[in-house]
Symmetry: D2
Subunit: 301 residues, 4 copies
């Protein structure tokens, strides 16, 4: 069944909040998300800033210890502009270089051209005088309620997902989350029309979205960290600081996954990763950074 949900309020934490809608295992939801500052498809400010979340959705049958499968069926910008910060964050450059970064804290709008599939920022007086990039819509922040009845800011991420800001979370990707609360309590928001690797200026091209997702409860599966898959890869996401620890989380999770679901014994899983693993940098801006560990599906028959 596909539900259409129009949000009327939002949360800036992933938490054990009162669900806004209860759906069955296997159902889909079509809904909207506002941008990181709380502006909707018509450019109206409808809620406070800070990655406001649509949801949470209660998925029937999801219980602590299960895994929640979330398919990102569709992620589409629903207005004609997004915005970004301009300058690389101080923590991403050499400490001695921080003073040489432009001192410009303003945001800038990017025009979205859905036909050409581009986003364009005009920079009058600069060289070059505009930046044009390809659209690649993604969700920056989504996930389930965290363990132990916590409510955790949508600025950050953890085992429950959250603000991972990984440019690989695009339409068509299937994600998997550990379930900590009854009903899983899935939240989503913080859409980006496009984003560089690492979200190094502190934003993607922040925009409101039309989103459709489909939920499935996997009763016999367990994970410690978010997982995902697309056409070419399976992947795991580790969220922490420094990046080294993200790699540790994601690699450990992948070693476990290969053994649980893909028929590898421990030594073979290690050897496969050794010569075939790939990593993506999700974000190096948020309170928790994100690294993604990927294995090409061609090695996993």
């Amino acid at each position: 069944m596909n539900h259409t949900f129009n949000p009327t309020h939002y949360f800036t934490t992933l938490g054990w909040h009162e669900p806004v809608l209860t759906v069955a295992d296997g159902d889909s939801i079509s809904t909207t998300t506002v941008d990181a500052r709380g502006f909707d498809s018509s450019g109206q400010n409808v809620t406070e800033r800070g990655n406001p979340m649509t949801g949470p959705f209660y998925i029937e049958g999801a219980e602590p210890g299960d895994m929640l499968q979330v398919t990102l069926d569709s992620i589409r910008p629903n207005r004609d502009y997004g915005w970004t910060r301009k300058v690389v964050a101080p923590n991403v450059v050499d400490p001695e270089y921080v003073r040489q970064l432009p001192d410009d804290q303003e945001t800038i709008n990017w025009q979205i051209d859905p036909v050409a599939s581009t986003a364009t920022a005009e920079l009058p007086g600069h060289t070059p005088d505009k930046i044009v990039t390809s659209l690649a819509p993604m969700l920056g922040c989504f996930g389930v309620a965290p363990p132990g009845r916590q409510s955790i800011s949508t600025a950050t991420s953890g085992p429950m997902g959250g603000n991972m800001d990984y440019r690989g979370f695009v339409s068509g990707v299937t994600c998997y989350f550990p379930v900590f609360a009854k009903g899983a309590l899935f939240h989503l928001g913080d859409g980006h029309a496009a984003q560089g690797c690492g979200e190094i200026v502190g934003t993607g091209i922040e925009i409101s979205m039309d989103v459709q997702v489909t939920f499935n409860v996997l009763k016999e599966k367990q994970s410690a960290w978010p997982r995902g898959e697309n056409v070419d890869y399976i992947f795991t996401a580790g969220n922490a600081r420094p990046l080294d620890q993200c790699v540790q989380h994601a690699t450990t999770e992948m070693l476990k996954w290969l053994q649980q679901d893909y028929g590898f014994d421990a030594l073979a899983a290690n050897m496969l990763l050794g010569q075939c693993v790939e990593y993506d940098l999700g974000n190096i801006f948020d309170p928790a950074y994100t690294m993604v560990c990927k294995v090409p599906k061609k090695y996993l028959n």
Copy 2:
């Protein structure tokens, strides 16, 4: 001019060593490298282990403050097997998971099939009972003499290059190094028939190589870290710990490069990186880790 050089001794440091050959600006050298343990194309142990380097080569005209351009014309395995370690390094998994890694310190040979372009490790008694990966020959360790008359182990890396173990250093790539010593003193070795991202078991498929490189001295250029380019990207390499600092070095270097050579002013360079940058994980095993900052060339004109 193309020189053919047959090495008779090797160094396990990048240092201000007596050059083994002097060549002119613009010259090429065809030579061989031994594997990380000092075994050559015939499987003979010809020198001590520890990434023994062929060279150093003295490039005429290269002086401190210049940049040395090194084109990796050709990197070809010259024997039919390589070897790897088997198990993911303890620093790459969660500390609590270290005890669950297989306790197997042995190395294993991989058969090289140049026709199929594959490398295969047999794992009798395991599931699956072999791992097959595609050949993607690369150099793990190469670079120039470090600053201040240092001699630094080929286990590690720095501004001078060294053991970066980045799988992107394949045939056809052009690299750029800051010159610290007169003649630059270029060393190379540590070939891998293939390698996963991060070199997380501590080795690629270690093998001896036939290599051809071409040198050009760039008098008006300067860099602080190794740079490179391939068909699709320009990139910079930051070598340090933790990975965060690698990102800082590589990103700072890219911001400078975009402004020096590609006509970007500071703000435009920052904005381009924000939405278009990509990162690769070079290695997360060596004493200094490596992260690579990449910009697609399509954004550069």
Copy 3:
């Protein structure tokens, strides 16, 4: 006024919970805390494990943007034994050394001798066959409700305090916290009869406590991180990962404090720290580590 409060329930998050008692600015509270696993003075398990907190206490007049002063008047173990883990945590030793740590996940009891002021663990069959240390009672976890209506696990720490596990939080210390919620909502617990620097086995000598604290609301003061002072030092606490970032938080906070309250201009504050600062390692075990930046009071007038 001094209130006596007997807790009937506990929280394992620092959050915007219903306060258990409201007190006036200037009041004191005498209360008890259970140990990290929820055992009280009589050795009864009265609540779930995980650093259960007594409180929260609502302090009248405390509003977001204020600073809450909390004087640790008295911290006294109220039973005759505590317990610890035995083995250094895997993240505190070299990754290659993890396998050589004793594989002993059991806890062990320590006998408290209040007259000799010692704690003793018997180790029959080991060399030596007991470990004796001096009592130095401290609170491991305490602080105010975090910003943005978050509820954050008492396993970790942040700007609001929390599980800092700093052995310097002993009787007589005055602490200062930024106020995020109306009434501040102060929580406390996780007493240690003694603890090594860093809490490197993952516990101090965990014990229930009799505690008295006094609250004062400072309306004209602001801080970003917990601060404190004892007879000899003023200090700031930074909570994050890695330790480097803890140092950054604590040092930045100290630079601000010296300028706000101690009459130093920016350059003088920098110069004082350069030659006179000291640091303590709070903990290197919890999800967020803690480093403490200290300035001897003798340099402050």
Copy 4:
């Protein structure tokens, strides 16, 4: 036997250099060191900047695998002024705070008063208008030749010692180094009249010194990292980045030492550290940071 040695040249690497003097096991050397910029006791610039080292000294009988004991008999400033940088290094504060640091790259002189045992920097026009600190003379950089015939900059440190910048290396301390080269090849220099914990402005009070050291070769001892002891503590030094890794090196080394020389079995060594260990921050400025792991001697018998 006590040798008096007047240096005529200096090295800015710890390396396998030609020794300047050969001494017997048990001998002492009285010599001088220049300051970090190469200025001597008379304020003359006698060599290039960058922590120039006196030495290396060849100690007869020292062979790879041995341990070299170096007693710091006496470290005394031999002129009436030192100098420091003024501003906390950008890597020691929050990245967002770097722009607010004073933009003052100048150094400043401190007057040494050996009678009052103070160092004073005048800050006309500032508040306060001078900073006075106590003298606590120490050596910032010293150690043996590194492994593998490396020559490593005196800006950094490693298993061989080097630029640890630990304020605990004062007169009366006994140090222990692993020996990598025949004769050990001991270098010393970079004296500080005093220094804050962490060397957070990038210098101590840099000064030339009169130094006396005594060497003993320990044939049956081995270490992986520098060790030391003073009246109250034994300690180990870990040199790396980030600080977390320094702690790992130093703690691992201490666990080994307790078992090798102090009669602790593994479990008892772990338990002792858990409740009794202390840590000092050596430096958080140099390419490799330093953390020191300490155990009070009162727990060792």
